[in-house]
Amino acid sequence: MTIRLSIHRIVLWTLLLVFALWFLAPLYVMLVTSLKDAEQLRAGNLLSLPTDPTLYAWFKAWGSACTGVQCEGLQPFFWNSVQMVVPAVLISTFIGALNGYVLSKWRFRGSELLFAFMLFGVFMPMQVVLLPMSQVLGWLGLASSIWGLILVHVLAGIPTTTLFFRNYYVGLPDELIKAAQLDGATFWQIFWLIVVPLSTPIIVVTLIWQFTNIWNDFLYGVVFSDSGSMPITVGLNNLANTSGVVKEYNVVMAAALIAALPTLIIYIVAGKFFLRGLTAGAVKG
């Protein structure tokens, strides 16, 4: 029995570790490649460690690599992304909290139906809004601007944030609100003094979820921005597709890591909340 059991364990652990290696391989390859110079890139292979690690590729990817005609590295696009992500995440999370509060604790006739119609926005292919939206952004004078991107991300994010908060607030006991109401608390007092202080977990989940999605977005970035407002994903894609005389894969890999780092760090620090966002987004109703 014990021998059979340990064979089970060996097979189990072998599988687990093989898969772990497969998942880690691209990250490892990106990292070792980004620390090589052109010489080591030629001499080595995908998996070989850099013989003489250098940050050359990282500096170039950050500050001087060409992304199309511009040669300023990813730096400007990184800051564009920061300027876009911070307001978009905060606004969409706040609106989601308010909507969720009303949809769970102040239901009115038709509110469930409205919510159902909104839910489709979580799934719909955004390709159907791209063409009209670029016209709308033009009318608003926001075409190819960071504010235009913020607006699109907020609008596209509201269904998800509303869903997150609504599902969380459904779990808060109604008696809490009823009791406060009997004590004369108003709609806003209940929200700010009772509901919000109880919302820390879902606020963290939503902030992380929205940050990850908006930072990683490419579709809106590539459609609604120009070289002055491009987010980092578009910058990275341009950098990777800019053909020089020799393709500097070490610079491309360093750039990919720079683009991945903010969300990766948050994932490593607060993975538990990211996980809850994933499952909350998948299990509806």
Partner: protein, 293 residues
């Protein structure tokens, strides 16, 4: 919900508070959707114009070779990506459910691709699958001189590279959903079956997995809508190439609407995507919301 006699404010205030954001987001979703639908019936080329031409754009799509390739690719990619992610994800969830000591670490490793952009994933895999410098080069250096792996530049095989990278990115997501579901299963069922002499794989295959029907269903919905919307990964990995061999409807739409000056055709292809997603998601949302009542 609360009809206790309160000041009039509590009756209209909640509605007033949500009205602007509801109005704007429903306008964003359905208003722009309808507008796009209208564009798909017009003769728009580089700029939108509103000359109505009926179904001509859809007829043009129907006979468009490139759109056929995109839809065929969606079928191939969809089946392999959905099937692969789900199979691998379920397997990983079951493996991790065996009271593994380092579960937290392994779960973090399996899931981290979900936290990074498809553009990063595509860029990394493009380098690894590159025939000159990547995997092929590695195998040559290891002494397998005849090894060749040119899928990425082979029009017949490039779509499978997209599948591999897609599964790599999403399998951990499926794992997370199933692991949560497996944790909800009553352990006494497993114990009882073990007492009856059933082997562990058999218990999973014939007792536990069949009881997870709803999880399979909702995971399928989520992964399949990801498949239909796939855009970034293709753009970063192959940019639809070689030629347009790895085009998906999303890249087809982007190319025609924004780089080739075929707005009418692009709008029509977006409506086709919408129809495919709606066919999968609307019944799901309907059943989910009904069952909650």
């Amino acid at each position: 919900m609360f009809r206790t006699p309160q000041s009039k404010a509590t009756v209209w205030l909640p509605k007033l508070v949500v009205a602007p954001s509801f109005f704007l987001s429903l306008l964003f979703i359905y208003g722009l959707m309808a507008w796009n639908g209208y564009l798909s019936f017009t003769a728009s080329r580089i700029l939108p114009n509103y000359e109505f031409i009926g179904l001509a754009n859809y007829e043009a799509l129907w006979v468009n070779e490139r759109f056929h390739v995109a839809m065929r690719n969606l079928a191939v990619f969809g089946v392999l990506f959905i099937g692969g992610s789900m199979a691998l994800g379920v397997l990983l969830a079951i493996l991790l459910d065996q009271k593994i000591r380092a579960e937290g670490v392994l779960r973090t490793i399996y899931l981290y691709p979900m936290a990074i952009s498809f553009i990063v994933t595509g860029t990394a895999w493009k380098w690894m699958l590159n025939p000159g410098m990547g995997l092929e080069h590695l195998m040559h250096q290891w002494g397998f001189e005849t090894f060749s792996f040119g899928w990425l530049v082979d029009p017949q095989m490039a779509i499978y590279c997209v599948v591999i990278a897609g599964i790599w990115q999403c399998a951990g997501f499926v794992m997370a959903l199933f692991l949560a579901a497996l944790r909800g299963i009553d352990e006494s069922i497993i114990k009882a079956a073990q007492v009856d002499g059933a082997s562990l794989p058999r218990i999973y295959w014939s007792i536990i997995l069949p009881s997870l029907g709803p999880v399979f269903f909702s995971t399928f919905i989520v992964v399949s809508h990801l498949a239909i919307k796939s855009f970034d990964l293709v753009m970063a990995l192959t940019a639809g190439g070689p030629g347009f061999a790895t085009d998906l409807p999303a890249t087809f739409m982007y190319a025609h609407a924004f780089t080739r000056g075929q707005i009418g055709l692009g709008a029509a292809s977006a409506m086709v995507m919408l129809a495919v997603v709606a066919a999968i998601v609307v019944p799901y949302l309907y059943s989910e919301l009904r069952s909650k009542r």
